[in-house]
Amino acid sequence: MSTSVEQRTGAGRRGPGSGEVAAFRNVSKQFGAVKAVNDISLVLHPGETVAFLGRNGAGKSTSIDMLLGLRDPSAGSVTLFGGTPRQAILDGRVGVMLQSGGLMPDVKVRELVGFACGVHPRGYQVDAVLATAGITELADRMVDKLSGGQEQRVRFAIATAGDSDLIVLDEPTTGMDVKARQAFWSVMRAQADAGRTVLFATHYLEEADSIADRVLVMHNGRLIADGTAAEIKARAGQRKISFDLHPQDGADLSLLKLLPAVSSLDVSGHTVRIGSEDADATVAAIYRAGFYPRGLEVAGVGLEQAFFAITGEQDAADESAALGNALDKGNAR
């Protein structure tokens, strides 16, 4: 299945601003002394495919619980389609695949998916749902006899049993092998292309990179990034420059240390690898210094590195803020 740039960026669908699927307005959630979610505001628009990133304990699951009305926020408001989450669910506007969503035992796959179709106000035919989820051949198996990856597909079938406008997936590909994951996402893309809004939490960053047209990053209960994967990668700033230097070209390696905007430098044999904050300036300086770089490549960092970069920045900022507070207190005394 090919994915055009247009589909990936969502430009072909109704663009942002043409409605509101879900909205968090200054939402916080406190568990005792712990602030699991700290003042989040965001709006999901129709047709967006949104990846929700964050380490364990970042506040993703708590946010998803509040989005679905499973937990109430301590402060702020969460709305789905302009109303309460519960109402949206009763109206069949949301299909959900929970990470922890157990399945009813002692029934066959077809019976369980049939129930999900039946309970949805605009449910599809059970055979169509099974076929879409790619589990037609599992229809007569008992639910308790499935492998982890098969269970995930049954959960997906339950989430897509009816004509919902928003599909929420919490770690949907956990327990699937690479092939199953690819198959899963091609099915999921079809859902997004049908105009549905898709929100998925994942810890596979390459999935977010290749599928989402918007990425949300949570860290220590706060939303620290919200943009396209490209924007988030750009925010991390880093680009990688690599090239070979041949001895016959007569290069003076010590000049490499004087290049501008370099954050890391690694020379092994003839190969030079540079991490740069400003790749344009660095590359121009390489030529100006008289180097003859062979096989020059400039590449952006992956979303994964960007993710670690921005969460790391946030940690450093939090630490210095905490230190500042401690010093202030010390001075006040």
């Binding site: 499973l70 969503g101 157990g102 399945l103 009813m104 002692d106 029934v107 129930f115 039946g118 309970v119």
Partner: protein, 240 residues
Amino acid sequence: MTTLIKLEILRVLRNRRYLVFTLILPTVLYLVMVNAYGKVDSLGGVSIKAYFMVAMATLGTVSASMTTNANRIALERKSGWARQLRLTALPGYGYVAAKIASTAASTLPSILVIFVLAYSEGVRLSASEWLLLGLTLWIGGFVFAALGVALGYSAAPDSIQPIIMIVYTVMLILGGTYGQFGGSFGAFAKWTPMALYNQLGRVAQTGASLDGGTMAAVLGYAVAFISLAAFLYQRDRRES
């Protein structure tokens, strides 16, 4: 909703545990008890065979409505199925309602099996007495279904199993399933839920009139168990 009830009934009937505790156990116990008490003429004012017919029918309904329900709810809270159901368009009461409805369907066979067994052992009642007794036992089972729901939500899923077994065993012993207690302990034991349920069955069986105290106690337990189930269920929904 009806689909969920159908599925729940299907699951109960497919379950081996149900078969053992609600059909086989009461049947075997009935035969054991009738033989063990072979020398005694009557217990609780009725013949041995009639006494244990009621005792084993109540054992079956209580097993089906209480332990099966409580275990299921505990397991489904743990696995996350209960949570997943809350994300469907099923109304909020749907889950518990389906559990109780499937209980009602699954207790009927256990009552009928014991009736057939007792009949073959020579217990004779008039048609209206059979019907009244059957209905009394069936409806009484709902009170225990409520207790089962309450137990299923009583604690963290992992620690519910022993709670169920203790409540169940103590109730059966005090309730006269294995024979009656005498003296002051017997006077106390006859006010326990299972004993009242059995008493209700014997009253229906003999056509005697029901005294006000028994009636009040039965209604009291019904209200208490239903309120407790509703309270614990709401508490669980708020927490998770």
